[in-house]
C-alpha cells in the first residue's frame, strides 16, 4: 500500500469551522431525542426514522413537486412533527409506562419505516438542495447549505431554549422532566406535555433530516447514524438537559472532526460510542447532568 504518505493535516481554523458547523447540526439531531428521554423517560428509537422521514418529505416537496428547498424544509418540519405526534397518540401513549416496550416498539417501527422508504424510493441516495454555492471561512470550504443548516439549527436550539425557560408550557415541560409526580401534583397533565414533546421532537428531527439530506444525501438508512449519535450526546450531556445536549453535541462533533483530521477516518463511528460507554460507566449522570432519576 502507499503507506509512505503521511496523513495530511488541515489547519486549525479549518478544523474549528468544521467543528462548529457539524456540532450544531448534531445538537439539532439529538435535541428531540433528549426531550423525549428527559420528559417521558423513554428512549425513542424511531428518532432516526423521523430524520429519514423529514429528509424524504423535503425530497418529495422540493424535488418531486418542485416547490423549492425551503418549502420542503417547512413541510418536513411540520409534517414530521405531526406524524410524530400521531405516532405518540396511536401507539406510544398506551405503553409509555413500560420503557422497554417503548424501546422495542419504536425500534420495530424504525425498521418498518426504513423498509417502506426503501421500497418506495429505492436504495439509491437522493439529493436535496437548499442553496447552491459556497464560501471560504477561515480556510475551510463551507457551502451555503451548511451555513443555512448551521444558522437554522442554532435558531431552533435557541428557540427551544427560550420556550422551555420562559414560557408557561415550557416550564411545565421542564418540570415534568424533573418530577413526574411533582408535575401531576401541580396539575400538569403529563400526556399533554408528552404529546407536545413528541410533536416538537419530530419537527426538530424532520428539520435535521433535511439538513443532513442536503449535506450528505438522503437514503433509507440515513437515520441510523444520527440515532446512535443521539445516544452518545444525550448521555454525555445529561438526561433531558438542553444545555447538556448542546454541550454533548459539541464534544461529540469535536471528537469526530479531530479523529478524522488527526487520527484515522475509519475510527469516526467508534469514538462517540466509546465516549458514551466511558461516561455511562464513570459518570452516569452526564457531564452537565442530573443524577439518575428512577422513573
Amino acid at each position: 500500500m502507499l503507506g509512505t504518505v503521511a496523513p495530511l493535516q488541515a489547519n486549525l481554523s479549518t478544523v474549528l469551522v468544521q467543528i462548529v458547523i457539524l456540532s450544531s447540526l448534531y445538537a439539532l439531531v439529538a435535541l428531540g431525542f433528549t426531550l423525549i428521554f428527559g420528559v417521558g423517560g423513554v428512549l425513542n428509537l424511531a428518532h432516526g426514522a423521523n430524520i429519514t422521514i423529514g429528509a424524504f418529505v423535503a425530497f418529495v416537496v422540493s424535488s418531486q413537486m418542485g416547490y423549492g428547498g425551503f418549502v420542503g424544509l417547512a413541510a418536513a418540519f411540520v409534517l414530521t412533527g405531526l406524524l410524530s405526534g400521531a405516532y405518540y397518540l396511536g401507539l406510544i401513549k398506551r405503553i409509555q409506562d413500560e420503557p422497554i416496550m417503548v424501546m422495542i416498539i419504536t425500534l420495530v417501527t424504525a425498521v418498518a419505516v426504513e423498509e417502506v422508504i426503501r421500497f418506495v424510493y429505492g436504495s439509491q441516495p437522493k439529493v436535496l438542495t437548499l442553496l447552491s454555492g459556497r464560501v471560504n471561512i477561515g480556510g475551510s470550504t463551507v457551502t451555503f447549505t451548511q451555513l443555512v443548516a448551521f444558522a437554522l439549527s442554532a435558531l431552533l436550539i435557541v428557540g427551544m431554549f427560550a420556550f422551555v425557560n420562559y414560557t408557561r408550557q415550557g416550564k411545565a415541560l421542564l418540570a415534568t422532566s424533573m418530577s413526574h409526580k411533582g408535575a401531576a401534583l401541580v396539575g400538569i397533565e403529563a400526556n399533554r406535555i408528552n404529546l407536545l414533546v413528541w410533536v416538537g421532537a419530530g419537527a426538530l428531527a424532520g428539520a435535521a433530516g433535511v439538513f443532513l439530506g442536503s449535506i450528505q444525501g438522503a437514503s433509507w438508512a440515513m437515520g441510523r447514524a444520527p440515532l446512535v449519535l443521539s445516544f452518545s450526546i444525550v448521555v454525555l450531556g445529561g438526561i433531558g438537559s438542553i444545555r447538556g445536549s448542546v454541550l454533548g453535541a459539541f464534544v461529540v462533533g469535536t471528537l469526530e472532526i479531530l479523529t478524522v483530521q488527526y487520527v484515522d477516518s475509519s475510527l469516526t463511528g467508534l469514538t462517540p460510542l466509546l465516549v458514551l460507554v466511558a461516561v455511562l460507566l464513570l459518570r452516569p449522570e452526564g457531564l452537565f447532568g442530573r443524577e439518575l432519576v428512577e422513573a
Partner: protein, 268 residues
C-alpha cells in the same frame, strides 16, 4: 407485630364510640348526597397486587376542618393521601365536593382545589424556588403575584432564596417550599403528608406556625402524620390508622385520654 394484642383489647373498650362515629357518618350521607363534607370516604379499600394496603376506610372531612390521620410507618397513611388525591385506584367511594375522585385525573382535582403535598415533596429540583412556586399556580385561576406574596409572608425563609435551586436547599426549606407550592394552587382541601418528617425542632416550629396560618385562611386540611404530638396539637379530629384499618377516631382530647394511644404513641 406488637400492635395486635393491646390494640384488640383497647378496641373492645371503645367499640361503641367507633360505632357511633360510623353511624353518624353514614346517616349524614343518607340524607344529603354530599353531606357537609368537602371530602367523603366510604368503605374504601386499596391493594397493591396481593397486598391490601387499606380496607374499610370511612372518613369525612368537613369544610374548614383540620383532620389528622395518624399511625405508624406502613399503616397506610400515604396510600390514603394518594387515593384521596387521585393517584391510586380504589374500591368503595371517595368523593371530593360530591364527585367521585376515581373518574378524575389529578389535574382535574388540582383545578378544583384539591392539592396534595406529598411526603417525598416531589419538588422540581433543578428549578429555582420562584419557578417551583409559580408552577404551583399552574392550574389556579388566581393572581399569582398575590399568592406568591402570601407564601413569602408565610415562610420568609423562601423569599431570601428565590433563585436558589430547590435541590440545594435544606430539608426544612424544601418542606416549606413544598407546602408553599401546594398553597400556590389555591387549595380548598390541602392534603399534607408527613410535613414534619426528619425536620429539626426549630424548623418544626416554623412549619407549625405556617400551618396554623393556613388554617386561619380557611383552608381545609387533611394531615397524615407519624408525629402524634404534632397532630394532636393542630387537628380538630384525629383518625388512627393501623395496618390499613381505622382503629380509633375522636377529638385530640379524647385520644389523649385513650390508654392505647397513650401507651403506643405518646410514650406512656
Amino acid at each position: 407485630m406488637d400492635w395486635s394484642i393491646p390494640g384488640m383489647i383497647a378496641m373492645a373498650g371503645t367499640a361503641d364510640e367507633a360505632a357511633a362515629d360510623e353511624t353518624e357518618a353514614s346517616s349524614a350521607d343518607a340524607t344529603t348526597t354530599t353531606g357537609d363534607g368537602i371530602l367523603t370516604v366510604e368503605d374504601c379499600a386499596v391493594s397493591y397486587g396481593k397486598v391490601t394496603a387499606l380496607r374499610g376506610i370511612d372518613l369525612t372531612v368537613g369544610e374548614g376542618e383540620f383532620v389528622a390521620v395518624i399511625g405508624p410507618n406502613g399503616a397506610g397513611k400515604s396510600t390514603l393521601c394518594n387515593t384521596v388525591s387521585g393517584f391510586r385506584d380504589y374500591t368503595g367511594s371517595v368523593q371530593y365536593h360530591g364527585t367521585e375522585v376515581g373518574g378524575q385525573s389529578p389535574r382535574d382535582l388540582v383545578q378544583r382545589g384539591l392539592v396534595h403535598c406529598t411526603e417525598s415533596r416531589d419538588l422540581f429540583g433543578y428549578m429555582s424556588v420562584e419557578d417551583n412556586l409559580t408552577l404551583g399556580a399552574y392550574r389556579a385561576n388566581t393572581n399569582t403575584k398575590e399568592r406568591l406574596r402570601f407564601v413569602y409572608d408565610l415562610f420568609p425563609a423562601l423569599e431570601d432564596r428565590t433563585s436558589q435551586l430547590a435541590r440545594t436547599m435544606s430539608g426544612g426549606e424544601q418542606q416549606m417550599l413544598a407546602i408553599g407550592r401546594a398553597l400556590m394552587g389555591d387549595p380548598d382541601l390541602l392534603v399534607l403528608d408527613e410535613p414534619t418528617l426528619g425536620l429539626a425542632p426549630v424548623i418544626l416550629d416554623d412549619i407549625s406556625e405556617g400551618i396554623e396560618q393556613i388554617r386561619e385562611e380557611g383552608v381545609t386540611i387533611l394531615l397524615a402524620e407519624q408525629n402524634v404530638t404534632f397532630a394532636l396539637r393542630h387537628a380538630d379530629r384525629i383518625v388512627l390508622l393501623e395496618n390499613g384499618e381505622v382503629v380509633r377516631r375522636g377529638s385530640p382530647e379524647e385520644l389523649r385520654e385513650d390508654d392505647y394511644i397513650r401507651e403506643s404513641y405518646l410514650g406512656g
